[in-house]
Each structure stands twice: as C-alpha cells, then as structure tokens.
C-alpha cells in the first residue's frame, strides 16, 4: 500500500582480476538494467583500476572494483542481490543504504559551496 521512498544506495562489487574491461562493462550494464527495470536511476558507475587486495579473497590476490550509486526503492535490492550473488566472477559485493551512514555524505555540500 504505502509507497516506499526512493533512497540512495551504493553497491560495490569485486570482480575477478582476469576479467577484461569489456566484460566488466557488460556486467555494469546488467546492473543498470536491473535498476532501470524497477524505475530506479543509476547515478554513477565508477570502475576502479585493478587493485591489490588486503588479503586473498577466493584465492585471488587482486581484483577489479566497481562502485555503483543508484536511487530507487528497496524492492529492487533482491534482484540486484541475485545477479551479484550468482555471478561466478563476482568475488564479493556489498550493498549499502547511503543514508544510514552519515559519514559517507559528510562535506559533500561544503565542497560544493566552496567551489
């Protein structure tokens, strides 16, 4: 009944180090598709360059990180969870409600003002 409010979420996925940039982009598109299907809006996709892991995860010492930021209501989360969980090349992922972590938005307004 009640409409759930659209919130800002952040998902970070750690992909297998051997993935090509192209394949990573395909995965990013898949995520975007899921967000769109639920009338959400993908705010940003940030593909980091390959990074050494602090400790091995699924026997890998390096990995490709992708940070997605999107808005939408929470009903899209199970679907997103599904595609990341059953993606063999996704070593680990984390989905976060940005609003619950005030530290993550600290200073964003301030930097805009000073510009």
């Amino acid at each position: 009944m009640a409409e759930t409010k659209a919130k800002l979420y952040e998902a970070i996925a750690l992909y297998h180090p051997d993935l090509e940039e192209e394949t990573i982009k395909e995965r990013a598109e898949r995520v975007e598709q899921v967000v769109r299907e639920h009338a959400g809006n993908l705010v940003s996709t940030n593909i980091w360059k390959k990074r050494k892991l602090a400790y091995p995860i699924k026997k890998q010492a390096e990995g490709n990180y992708v940070v997605y930021r999107f808005t939408g209501d929470r009903r899209l989360l199970p679907d997103l969870d599904y595609i990341l969980r059953y993606d063999e090349e996704c070593l680990r992922y984390l989905i976060i409600d940005v609003g619950r972590y005030p530290g993550m938005t600290r200073g964003t307004q301030r930097t805009e003002v000073s510009k």
Partner: protein, 77 residues
C-alpha cells in the same frame, strides 16, 4: 592547556572529525581510515587517537566494511 605527555600516549586534544566536518568517514577512503589503524592493522583505541565516541562508532563500521571488501586487512603479518 597544551596536550601533555600522560602515560604512554600523548592525549590528542579534540576529535579530528569534529574539527574537520568535510572529512568523509567512508569505507572507500582507505588512506584516511588507515590513520586509525595500528601497524598490525588493528583499530586504534579512542584514547590514542582522540576521536569522539560518535565518530569512533562511524569509523568502526567504515573500517569493517572496508575489511569485508578486501580494501583493508583484518591483520597484518
């Protein structure tokens, strides 16, 4: 009063995050989080860093998120 040498740690005067509200407490900002870890990768106590309890709690979650994602170690060596 100036911060004094007391016991083994120099007491930091105020919380870094209260003084600089623009500093993010984000699991992605690993360089900053690292300043609150010992060289073995353990979280430093508040009495060592001077962080206030509110920000220490936020820091703890951020560090744990970063550890989960393999951005920070649980332990070193």
């Amino acid at each position: 009063m100036r911060p004094q040498m007391r016991g083994r740690f120099r007491q930091a005067k105020v919380c870094t995050f209260c003084v600089e509200p623009q500093l993010p407490i984000d699991y992605k900002v690993v360089g900053l989080l690292q300043k609150f870890l010992s060289d073995r990768g353990k979280m430093l106590p508040r009495r060592r860093t001077g962080v206030c309890s509110k920000h220490q709690r936020m820091l703890a979650t951020a560090i744990k998120q970063a550890r989960f994602m393999g951005l920070l170690p649980y332990t070193k060596r």
